[in-house]
Amino acid sequence: MNDNTPVLSIRGLTLALPQGADRDYAVEDVSYDVARGEIMCVVGESGSGKSMAANAVMGLLPKGVRPTAGEVLFDGQDLLTLSEKQHRQLRGLRIGMIFQEPMTALNPLMRVGAQIAEVFEAHGKYSGSERQEKALALLEEVGIPQPERAIRAYPFQLSGGQRQRVMIAMALALEPELLIADEPTTALDVTTQAQILELIRDLQKRRGMAVMFITHDFGVVAEVATRVCVMRFGQIVELGMADEVLDNPRHDYTRALLEAIPSNRVPEARGGERPAPLLEVRNLNKVFRSRGGLFKPAREVRALDDVSFTLAPGETVGIVGESGSGKSTLGRCVVRLERPDSGTLALAGTDFSALRGDVLRRERHRVQMIFQDPYASLNPRHRVGYAIAQGPMANGVPKDKAMRQAEELLELVGLGAVAVDRFPHEFSGGQRQRIGIARALALNPELIVADEAVSALDVSIQAQVLELLEELKQKLSLSLLFITHDLRVAAQICDTIIVMQQGRIVEQGTAQEVFLNPREAYTRQLLDAIPGRAHEAAMA
């Protein structure tokens, strides 16, 4: 397929950041080609400048960022010299693009068909009825079920994967020679991600397009890439054929990134007798009801449907599932941010689900939580030391003692005692997550629930935080309920795995059993959808 004529050729591109940014250049002296019939993956962690070159190609550079050197040649034309109007001509017609979040990229008040037709309209192609026909054909091509209905649907009526398919249909409407996909699958579930990747690969082959695929996930790279360009701090670290880069990375940074990917290596099974469970969940049910209005019926969502499991002291139980599987609701019920409708939650003998009011408040210190979003889980107005000391103080520890303890905890999670006097926004995402862990530890809880605790982090940071958790588990013999959508992460840290789907437990067993001999079809489907799995199997 690869006939090696570069469609896009970036030569020595340097983009300057406005003064006062944390570095001078967004990208510095970056050169790579994207040829017809290949998928060029640009990989890097957040802040690596991986999206910047793509923005320059599309003429969508953020305010204050300007090119200072180099050229971006598309079909022999330097895109950096084009006017806004000329750029607009090119976008959509010859360069298509897909974004990360399909919900915000689509107009919520416009039917899908009209949005696709708008692409033709913007470039003055076809008559009204032809546009609708073309739109329908496109929806069929991107594999949306029941395209005749989807064309009349509003974006909110479609699932995340279907919306991304609509975005792809729009990007492909005018048969562009180059498709730019900026983290197109990051917001999707694993199984949906696998389908979308398959679709992009398939369309690329069928149409012989050049694809520039921007991602942070090496697993995704292994799935789709023809060639790979690894970026860090705005510079290219490594550039080469996908197989070469993945199998024989030449640069240390690439190697570190590859090693940081949570692998499918399964932890050793722990032998021995199972001690009395610390947490015993029996027949837990939770239904969310939305109040119906005059003209709309009340809606019911079964978030938890007869869920039972146990967790032994010192054990890490992973709860795995896609969005909407009820895994977060389960975690929130265990820490009692939600009240289960029925069922019992026995924590070392006491029924945690029956507690209320002040009694509950006094018992809360026994179960703590590490939250998902490191940016939202710390009060922006409180200094870090105070944020950690709050818990002990609320439980009657005097302030100076609690603050000393906070310093020790910050040392323990690897931030150093100096961090106490700083505000959360002065820390990076990974560091904030460490603060969140310190806060959870401050009350010496019997059980910690980690709700997607590493999902918002870059791979290398993710690996560090997981390492920290592992270390703390050994040191403090923590019991952990680890909720994640990422099977690779679960494989790394969990002893027991519980797979959930639509509020029900589909499968539970030791990590080894679940990963090596999944009993249920759904578990197998989830495992197969993990990006990069085939590549890893070949390596082993």
């Binding site: 820490v335 941010l337 408040r361 006094r362 809360r364 210190h365 179960v367 703590q368 939580m369 939250f371 998902q372 979003d373 939202a376 889980s377 710390l378 009060n379 922006p380 107005r381 944020a387 709050q390 818990g391 609320a394 439980n395 505000f423 926004h425 002065e426 969140g436 806060r439 401050a442 009350l443």
Partner: protein
């Protein structure tokens, strides 16, 4: 960096503070510079500014000194603006906080109560209240406070509703903090910015409301206020422009200064902005 240094980084806020201090100084110096009552007739009426020695802002329809009225009026206007706003905040903030934090029935009850006040036009209610209670500084302050707390309660409620499900608030619940601590220490500090901005605007509206009441003759008959001066001058605005012009400028400057200071306070209280600038 000290609080004031952060505040001073906002150039406009500094200007506002200077104007505000000048007005406060005016109010303090009034009894020294013009020891006599501002109601006393001291010269022939309708003296234009600078026409006669010692009456640099002229005299009004009755021959009273405009400058003296302006200086004495500063005290009343500021007092009424600040106190009535504080009272309104004392009613509105706790009400809104409780309604927004607890939701459900408590929220319903408190919001219906708030709406009861909102359905009556502000100014009409203020007039009725002052008329019933007899015009005095205290009754005017109370009337203004009673008509201006509902927007505060609404604003605080909305902020609390959006903040109470934040992860850091949930984290605070998890460590066992009481509802009171969560409301006061976790959520309230994060609602400060809009409250400060609203409060600075409210001081301004309170001054204007007092002016309007005085204009209608419902001011405290014993104290000179800017509003009374404008009100009294309205019939002669074409012959003697200075009678309404100077108190008008005084109100404008005060309101402007308060807004600038409010903005500066908001910046200085926000730890994120503060560090970014440094």
């Amino acid at each position: 960096m000290s609080f004031f240094a952060r505040f001073a980084q906002n150039r406009g806020a500094l200007v506002g503070l200077v104007i505000l201090l000048a007005i406060v100084l005016m109010a303090i110096l009034a009894p020294l510079l013009y020891p006599e009552s501002p109601w006393r007739m001291v010269q022939r009426p309708f003296l234009a500014p600078l026409e006669a020695e010692g009456f640099w802002l002229g005299t009004d329809t009755m021959g009273r000194d405009v400058a003296a009225g302006l200086m004495h009026g500063a005290w009343v206007s500021l007092l009424i603006g600040l106190i009535s706003t504080s009272v309104a905040l004392l009613i509105g903030v706790p009400l809104g906080a409780v309604a927004g934090y607890y939701g459900g029935l408590i929220d319903d009850a408190l919001m219906r109560f708030t709406e009861f006040f909102q359905t009556i036009p502000n100014f009409a209610l203020a007039i009725v209240l002052v008329a019933i209670m007899q015009p005095s500084v205290a009754s005017i302050v109370l009337a203004i406070a009673i008509v201006s707390w509902p927007p505060v309660a609404r604003l605080v409620r909305a902020e609390f509703m959006s903040l109470r499900h934040r992860e850091y608030v949930e984290a605070a619940r998890l460590v066992g903090q009481t509802n009171r601590t969560i409301i006061l220490k976790q959520i309230l500090p994060n609602t400060l910015s809009p409250i400060i901005v609203l409060a600075s605007l409210m001081v301004a509206t309170a001054i204007l409301l007092e002016s309007a009441l005085s204009f209608l003759g419902l001011g405290d008959p014993n104290v000179m206020s800017w509003g009374y001066m404008i009100g009294a001058a309205r019939t002669v605005i074409r012959q003697a422009w200075w009678l309404s012009f100077f108190p008008g400028v005084a109100i404008l400057l005060t309101v402007l200064a308060l807004n600038l200071v409010g903005e500066g306070l908001d910046d200085a209280l926000n730890p994120k902005l503060a560090r970014e600038r440094s």
